[in-house]
């Protein structure tokens, strides 16, 4: 990968040496170049590409930022250090080509990913948000200073943060039979307290809302390397449904990347039908929720029977419920009653 970064720089350098305005070509990430690929079961980019040239006054600044980020990533990787998206945003200010806001710098980082075909984590640039894992899995670190050091992921009652050190670790040993990914922190803690990891022989993962790429990548590794099924447990609303979908089929934003999806993962609740069947305390869907539902209805990733059925039910009941809604039946109900029933039910999907 270091070589790819060097070559990227050398290409532009030589263009300038020849008296050309430097330019790059990269696959277009615009909406009309993103397709759902049933083969890989994720979003992929089409054939269109864009050319970014220093001849164009509107391109020259982003192109400069791109070369800077490439250079930044190059030094980072060479020195085996890590950085965050926020870091990158601030670091650029030292070079008098500040990004207007962090989304702008994030977008340029995505450009570099698109051009080189690596994920930003490969360049040692990580997002700020961190999720956590808890369960009987032993790993062995590979990061500098920790090489070979082992850790069992039950060793900390709050769970272990899923960061660069964990995602690059080797997965050594586990007795777990499944993975349960949980949207909310409170519910993750409840599961640990209720010993769900023992009851179901599960690894518990806190996605902290929309799962970060590192978490999605780690889920995929557990699923493929350890062969464990993945169940995703979110709020019962269009947004929770989509958290599950991004883990399963990927996001449009990462259509240029592979190996971030877990196509066999299952969304196991809270479903719209659960709101009815379990008589859960609920809120009315607001306008934004409804609009989101219509968008999901048109989204090719929502082709499956379960998805269609749940979208229809949401439209019908016009209600949403949070994971915590099960507390009305007592604190342990969700782990003792709901989950076993649900996991049983999942077998039919």
């Amino acid at each position: 990968m270091i070589k790819d970064l060097q070559e990227f720089g050398a290409d532009l350098y030589e263009q300038m040496e020849r008296g050309e305005f430097p330019w790059v070509r990269m696959p277009s990430r615009s909406i009309n170049n993103i397709y759902y690929d049933p083969g890989t079961r994720q979003y992929v980019l089409g054939d269109r590409s864009v050319r970014r040239s220093a001849r164009n006054i509107r391109h020259i600044r982003p192109l400069t930022q791109l070369t800077w980020i490439a250079d930044f990533a190059y030094h980072l990787t060479k020195q085996k250090k890590t950085s965050t998206l926020r870091d990158v945003f601030y670091n650029a200010q030292a070079y008098d080509m500040s990004f207007t806001d962090q989304p702008e710098s994030d977008d340029i980082i995505t450009d570099l990913e698109t051009i080189l075909g690596y994920a930003r984590e490969d360049f040692s640039i990580f997002p700020e948000e961190r999720s956590a894992i808890f369960g009987n899995l032993t790993i062995s670190y590979t990061v500098p200073g920790y090489e070979g050091k082992k850790l069992n992921l039950t060793s900390h009652p709050d769970g272990v943060m899923i960061g660069p050190a964990l995602t690059s670790a080797e997965l050594l040993d586990t007795d777990a039979e499944m993975v349960i990914a949980i949207e909310k922190g409170a519910m993750f803690t409840r599961f640990i307290e209720e010993k769900a990891h023992k009851k179901f022989k599960a690894l518990l993962i806190h996605t902290a809302g929309q799962a970060p790429r590192a978490t999605r990548q780690f889920l995929r590794r557990i699923n493929s390397e350890l062969g464990l099924p993945v169940y995703i447990f979110t709020d019962g609303d269009p947004w929770g449904m989509h958290i599950a979908m991004v883990i399963i089929s990927g996001s449009a934003n990462a259509a240029h990347l592979r190996e971030l999806t877990t196509p066999d993962a299952k969304w196991s609740g809270v479903w719209a039908s659960d709101i009815v069947n379990y008589k859960l305390p609920s809120d009315k869907l607001n306008d934004m929720d409804i609009r989101r539902l219509y968008e999901l209805q048109r989204d090719p990733r929502y082709e499956g029977k379960l998805w269609k059925q749940e979208i229809d039910t949401f439209f019908k009941v016009k209600k949403k419920a949070e994971q915590e809604a099960f507390s009305r039946y007592g604190l342990s109900y969700i782990v003792d009653k709901y989950l076993p029933a649900k996991l049983e039910e999942m077998k039919s999907y």
Binding site: G9, A10, L12, Y13, N56, I60, Y95, M97
Partner: protein
């Protein structure tokens, strides 16, 4: 019962004394402004008629009264003009309606009584005499102390002195006392002098105010406008009164001769055609014209469409060069656009409109366009919103068409010169919206506006190019640096060659 009415003839001096509002002496503020103005204008005219670059010195001294309020002032105005011959001094300054201004020629003075009116006003407010000193450059300088006998309209000479003129000085010094309120009049007076300096950039004007402050408006050019020629009246512009006077003084014996001799641009052929049109025999003796024939003749003059238009040799426009010099020295703008219109005429009176637009630079910042109006080189300072130029500037021109964004100050100057300025009222502070005059002002400002528009879009495109180059100059070296580092090269690339190519890049839309 019947009462016997008494009819008494009043003298012109008496008339103006009773109607001094008309001449602008309505209150102590206006009076001191008007007095100073009349004297300065007389002085400028006295110089310009003889192509002498004017050098005018004005001093106001407070002689008592309330400080910063109503007070008696001594006014002294010196010029280096042609001077007044000794025998004319008493009449020229002590008799209303004496002077050279009742012929047709473009001059500043508006009533032919300006200076005298000021002296008259001084006399009635302070009861002090006026002193006039003048020489035409002969061996003697004459000094006359006089007052005006208002009822008889006659000068009363109090004292006369003669001095030898060693240095060959020519010019006139007028000095008298008047009551006024300088401190309230001050903004207008300073503004008047500044605008006068714009319209007369070849003049040196020095003003010492009652506090001893010195204002200097220095000459910016040694060129002077060509002095206007005297001209005969044009048939379109005469009235019954004028014809009546002409038939009494004429030495001609036939109407054909009468027409050719007394009217502007009337030759033998035109005169014949016109008399046929008017139904007046060519050999009719003008002295024998009856009242109703005169009325008929004037009527025919207005309706005859084959008179040649008046020519403009009697006019003295500033011209582009002088206008530019005046605007430059007093306003110091970033850009000046000028349009001098071709001569035109309304009702038989020739006129020329000159317009200028000054943009940016040191022009005083206001929320609005600054409008400077001039009539025969006199600044018009009052009743701006009633003036035809104001109407044109604010309602008839869409400044956006000329790329004017008003982020910088802008001044519009309109100079109308004519043998008869079409003032709207007797106060003579604003010009009426005569369609002919209005059209010339509009066209002049449009042309100047186009020049400004061209300048602004050139400047904009130069700024645009510079901004573009700035962007390339900022980023290309960075790209060169980062890629050099990435590629592990030793040599930093020189981007100068690429930067030189920036201008040739077609702009992306």
């Amino acid at each position: 019962m019947s009462r016997r009415e008494v009819f008494a003839e009043i003298s012109p001096a008496d008339f103006f004394y009773r109607n001094r509002d008309i001449a602008g002496f309505s209150n102590p503020v206006r009076a001191i402004y008007a007095a100073l103005r009349e004297l300065v204008e007389n002085s400028l005219d006295a110089c310009e008629l003889h192509q002498i670059p004017p050098d005018i010195y004005v001093r106001l001294t407070q002689e008592g009264g309330i400080p910063l309020g109503l007070a008696t002032y001594k006014i002294r105005v010196e010029d280096n003009g042609s001077g007044v011959p000794a025998s004319y001094i008493p009449s020229a300054f002590g008799q209303v309606l004496f002077g050279s201004k009742y012929r047709l020629r473009q001059t500043r003075g508006t009533f032919g009584l300006g200076g005298t009116m000021a002296i008259l006003y001084g006399q009635i407010t302070t009861h002090k005499p006026a002193t006039i000193t003048s020489s035409t450059g002969t061996s003697k300088i004459y000094e006359v102390e006089l007052r005006i006998d208002i009822q008889r309209n006659k000068p009363v000479i109090l004292r006369r002195r003669k001095r030898s003129n060693v240095e060959g000085w020519h010019g006139t010094v007028v000095e008298f006392y008047l009551e006024g309120d300088y401190f309230r009049a001050m903004p207008k007076i300073i503004e008047y002098l500044k605008q006068t300096a714009i319209a007369s950039p070849y003049a040196n004007i020095t003003f010492v105010d009652p506090r001893g402050r010195l204002y200097k408006f220095e000459t910016a050019t040694n060129k002077m406008p060509i002095a206007p020629k005297e001209t005969l009246p044009h048939p379109y512009g005469v009235d019954v009164e004028t014809i009546q006077r002409l038939v009494t003084i004429t030495e001609t014996r036939t109407m054909l001769q009468f027409m050719i001799t007394h009217f502007h641009r009337v030759g033998r052929a035109t005169a014949k055609k016109f008399l046929d049109f008017a139904g007046v025999p060519q050999d009719r003796n003008p002295h024998k014209l009856k009242q109703e024939e005169i009325v008929k003749l004037v009527h025919a003059m207005k309706n005859f469409d084959a008179f040649m238009p008046p020519d403009a040799s009697c006019l003295s426009p500033l011209g582009e060069e002088l206008m530019r010099a005046g605007v430059q020295k007093e306003l110091n703008p970033e850009f000046i656009a000028i349009d001098v219109r071709k001569p035109s005429a309304y009702s038989g009176f020739p006129f020329i409109v000159e317009t200028a637009i000054a943009y940016g630079g040191n022009i005083q910042k206001t929320d609005d366009i600054l409008l400077y109006r001039f009539a025969n080189r006199i600044p018009l300072l009052y009743d701006e919103a009633s003036d035809v130029s104001w109407k044109v500037v604010h309602t008839e021109i869409n400044w956006k068409n000329y790329k004017v964004s008003f982020d910088k100050p802008m001044a519009v100057l309109v100079h109308v010169c004519s043998t008869k300025i079409p003032y709207k009222t007797v106060g003579k502070e604003y010009i009426a919206d005569r369609p002919e005059v209005e059209r010339e002002i509009l066209n002049g400002l449009r042309e100047a506006g186009r020049q400004l528009g061209t300048y602004l879009s050139r400047r904009e495109s130069a700024e645009h190019d510079k901004r573009r180059l700035d962007v390339f100059s900022k980023y290309l070296p960075k790209i060169a640096h980062f890629t050099k580092d990435l590629a592990g090269k030793d040599k930093e690339l020189d981007v100068e060659r690429l930067l030189r190519g920036v201008g040739k890049i077609e702009e992306e839309t």
